[in-house]
Symmetry: C2
């Protein structure tokens, strides 16, 4: 890992919770692994062994229902992490993870604790912070799934993406539409209908390319349909 990348990561929510020395120590022992698109990173129900921290690319967290249907829980990018609690306590992964683009994931062994002072205590606090952060994210997602329509969830997602992209009016979706549909809790055909519903407010899309003609119109739509 380059010193630059380590620096970037240290600003992420996990390492921000740790003293710099413990941070450096963990990173120095960590194993970065590269995955091709579609590669399995870990499987629900198996020993987690490590905390996984995404360095680049996109990762899909998902669960398989009893019927074998896939429920996308989250899409993760650089500085996002998962399996924190399981890695700390020696438990199993609560979801499977798959690379949806070529990606690099840093594997951190939380049980091989070094001689850093009060390392266990600091790690526990950091893991609690992350668990609380994930819990809040999942609660927000349950809220969205229960009270918003698919078109409203898509609108929210596009506004967030627009802001993350620094206000570009044309951008590429970070992953395929079938994954976006799963993430937003829709069938692919419902996602197509949701995109069609946004056409009158200036959103058009072709494959992964999306353009937003008038952001204020899209925001107005978001507010009007929420009201």
């Amino acid at each position: 890992m380059t010193p630059h990348l380590a620096q970037v990561l240290a600003k992420g929510p996990l390492f921000q919770q740790l003293p710099p020395k413990l941070c450096q120590c963990l990173i120095s022992k960590a194993q970065p692994r590269s995955y091709g698109r579609g590669a399995v990173i870990c499987l629900q129900g198996e020993q987690a062994r490590t905390l996984k921290l995404v360095l680049d690319g996109w990762v899909k967290l998902y669960r398989l229902s009893g019927s074998g249907e896939e429920a996308v829980l989250a899409t993760l990018q650089a500085a996002d992490s998962f399996d924190e609690v399981a890695a700390l306590q020696g438990g199993i992964s609560q979801a499977s993870a798959e690379a949806v683009s070529p990606c690099t994931v840093l594997h951190l062994d939380l049980q091989a604790i070094c001689a850093c002072e009060r390392a266990k205590e600091h790690l526990q606090a950091a893991v609690l912070h992350m668990a609380s952060h994930h819990l809040d994210g999942m609660m927000a997602q349950v809220e969205g799934l229960k009270v918003q329509t698919g078109a409203q969830r898509l609108t929210r997602y596009l506004i967030d993406l627009y802001e993350a992209e620094g206000g570009a009016i044309e951008f590429e979706l970070p992953f395929e539409k079938v994954i976006l549909a799963g993430k937003l809790g829709m069938k692919p055909e419902s996602l197509s209908r949701a995109f069609a519903r946004l056409k009158p407010v200036g959103v058009s899309s072709s494959h992964r390319l999306v353009s937003i003609r008038d952001m204020s119109k899209l925001r107005a739509y978001a507010e009007a349909t929420a009201a």
Copy 2:
């Protein structure tokens, strides 16, 4: 609080994580409060101050969306707790809580730590355990909302309730159908349709009374629709 109740509670997931002495100490300082149906227990966005542990009755955890629509996140009963992380760290409640039946809730102040040995460390581990437990529950809920139909979620709920009731074929729903609809992520009219869909497999309901004529038929339906 009666010694019996304290004993029952000590078997719940929170206190199981704590040494008996710390358990007793926390319980001795805790404040039980009674709430009438519809009373507010705490509000999303306000200082949490305490960990809340349900002693009896039913509590609804919910969020209000931007449009003022209510998303029920969970329904809680005796031995269930919430606001653990916020109480430990002095943060805000991530959801509102309301009594949906008359209920008693024990308020535990995690910051007024007694002289018990390594109290903070034990509390942190217990809170992490609970956060992880809630996270898993929310992930399971996201999974259900994304891959199951309303009728499938209702079927799963009825099977769980049947088992919790010790196999009774006729029982009362613990709260009103409008709350059940919110919990399962449906509009009340969709819940009525879901109940109607279960009629051919022997489920009938009138107000809060539900009867299941043939449990094996309902289980078969659950499996057939999941396949």
